[in-house]
Subunit: 360 residues, 2 copies
């Protein structure tokens, strides 16, 4: 693969910046879901002691950032930049988090694709030696998203079967390309510790905005699936890889309906059904049980952020997964664009994570 | 200066990516202001032929992007990524622009600091050889901003004297670090052409979020001035430069009040008054005449975007300015954060532009 090849959407991170640490903070419903045991902090109460939902979400993101920094053994002086975003208008969660942490801040908006957008730009900053360490992240909260995009909870409206449940969750990671390396240890259930595998960022595929013409804001998975498939196919073409080169491919929050559409589109593109079934899944279809009354599955920036930072990162550290492609997916509609007759554009950014030699 | 020095906020662009082209599209009021003759396109009608203000703004941004690409002689296949943002919820202008252009897209939100945020990350992508060319930009529109942040225009509310006027404007630039170079010619009023000076990006200082505790949303300049001064002082410290090393230092949209506050704060920091008076100005204080009934001056992402892409870039190309520091300034409040008792956090990112040897 030629770096900088014309028309190529994939960036090569030749220095393989590593994810020094990751932290996931989730709400009670997410903590009670099938991935609950993988998350670092589960709230007992989704207000998190704050008077407004927006402040609760911001505090969750800040907590994830601080836990990640603590695990990485980094002070804020060591961090060159925070790159983060959320679903709230004017990035309220991220902006106020960054005010408190007092670290140089770059705000990003990619709707629910924000986690891999921040990973992409964080990898560029560290791989390119512009910063030794950066911290990246994203968050969402069911109660802030419902108020902003749909109805305040107090309204008690009924959700259609295809609607997805915005995850109350935040994820953060410290990326580093410095030379020093602290030993990272993991423990099994019997207390035996061993050195964790090192998770490195190797490729990043920047997504295009794809609009399949869907206008129903309760069909987000269907609106985003074509963007996810477009990014995946471009990633494979740019890198010369096939699905078989990955142990797992995870989209962000297509949910049950969008996941099925993505599988169909991949088959239409000529990828054998078995290859897809063996290694493709979606965070929105993983974070909740169907019995948790979430209808179409999970969604929100925090859905993929917490699944990557909690579940996926730890499984890779334990050596259970060696090469993974993660693609957070975003629906770039605005709160007023549907009223102006617009359909829902989607986007997805892909990041390849690989276990590599531990830098010494 | 040491690259990657701990606590350093300034990135060094050693390969000096150049600004291949720039384009500014502005509304009628901005076109009738003191900088009118510098802008590439002045709308005859701020609807720009669209049925909603949001679509008008998106079309302005798209037009600026396309004009910049055309001037640079680049097709969309040549562009590795669009980095852009605007003030609208969910970046409606940028998202729909990127859908139409079908180029890999990274959405940014830094309120009115977005132009230098996009320049910063665009410079990282090109300087680091991740993309040969990227296109960056930002936009705002008086009518979309009034509706979203204040009142719909139809309401006819009175603006307090300290309120600023959101510029109806978009700016875009093509950044490049490739090896090939097309001759860029400029013509004087008598039709004599000569080679334009090459404008290169040399340093970028990522801003921290600074909150001076101001709660009045009609005092944006006062809320943002401390962030601008903080970024400027950090830039000077990181680079070992003084104000005298620059021909011009331009903040984004502090307006008349904020500009005076910034000057006072710089003097408090020990910088001689004459040094400041000789070379410091603010785009929000430049884009309109006071007689245009704009009260506190101009504001909005498009204010600094159009002044940089129109006025400043051309003056540098003509050799009238050799070294300039630009700092777009953003107020990171949300539409609901003031109702939750929050003050207004500010941010500013600084970019150093310098005339350099023309790459051959």
């Amino acid at each position: 693969m030629v770096k900088n090849k014309k028309g190529n959407q994939t960036l090569v991170f030749a220095n393989r910046p590593r994810i020094l640490s990751a932290a996931a903070v989730v709400g009670t419903k997410e903590g009670g879901g099938p991935l609950g045991s993988w998350f670092d902090t589960i709230l007992e109460d989704d207000t998190f002691g704050e008077k407004t939902w927006e402040k609760s979400e911001s505090k969750m993101l800040k907590t994830a950032m601080m836990e990640a920094m603590q695990k990485a053994g980094k002070n804020k002086e060591d961090i060159g930049a925070i790159l983060s975003g959320d679903l709230l208008n004017q990035l309220m969660s991220s902006s106020f988090m960054a005010r408190d942490l007092h670290i140089p801040f770059l705000g990003l908006y990619g709707a629910c694709s924000t986690m891999t957008e921040s990973l992409m730009l964080g990898a560029v900053l560290t791989d390119g030696k512009y910063s030794d360490n950066v911290i990246i992240g994203a968050s969402s909260h069911y109660c802030t998203a419902e108020r902003q995009f749909r109805m305040p909870l107090e309204h008690g409206n009924q959700r259609p079967p295809s609607a997805q449940w915005t995850a109350t969750a935040a994820g953060a990671m410290v990326l580093s390309c410095g030379s020093e390396k602290e030993a990272s240890l993991i423990a099994d259930e019997e207390g035996n510790t061993r050195q964790a595998k090192e998770v490195q960022v190797t490729f990043g595929t920047i997504g295009k905005v794809i609009d399949a013409g869907i206008k129903d804001a309760n069909q987000m998975g269907a609106a985003m699936a074509p963007a996810a498939v477009d990014t995946l196919l471009n990633h494979l073409q740019d890198t010369g890889r096939s699905l078989r080169d990955y142990d797992l491919i995870l989209t962000g929050d297509l949910g049950y309906i969008g996941k099925d559409i993505a599988k169909d589109l991949l088959q239409d593109a000529g990828i054998p059904k078995k290859e897809i079934e063996d290694r493709y899944d979606d965070c929105g279809a993983m974070i909740f049980e169907k019995e948790q009354d979430v209808h179409g599955g999970g969604s929100g920036c925090g859905c993929s952020a917490s699944v990557f930072a909690g579940y996926l990162y730890k499984r890779m550290q334990q050596g259970e997964l060696n090469r993974v492609l993660i693609m957070s997916t975003g629906a770039l509609l605005s709160t007023i664009s549907p009223f102006q007759g617009e359909s829902i554009p989607g986007i997805a950014h892909g990041i390849s994570l690989e276990i590599g030699e531990v830098h010494q």
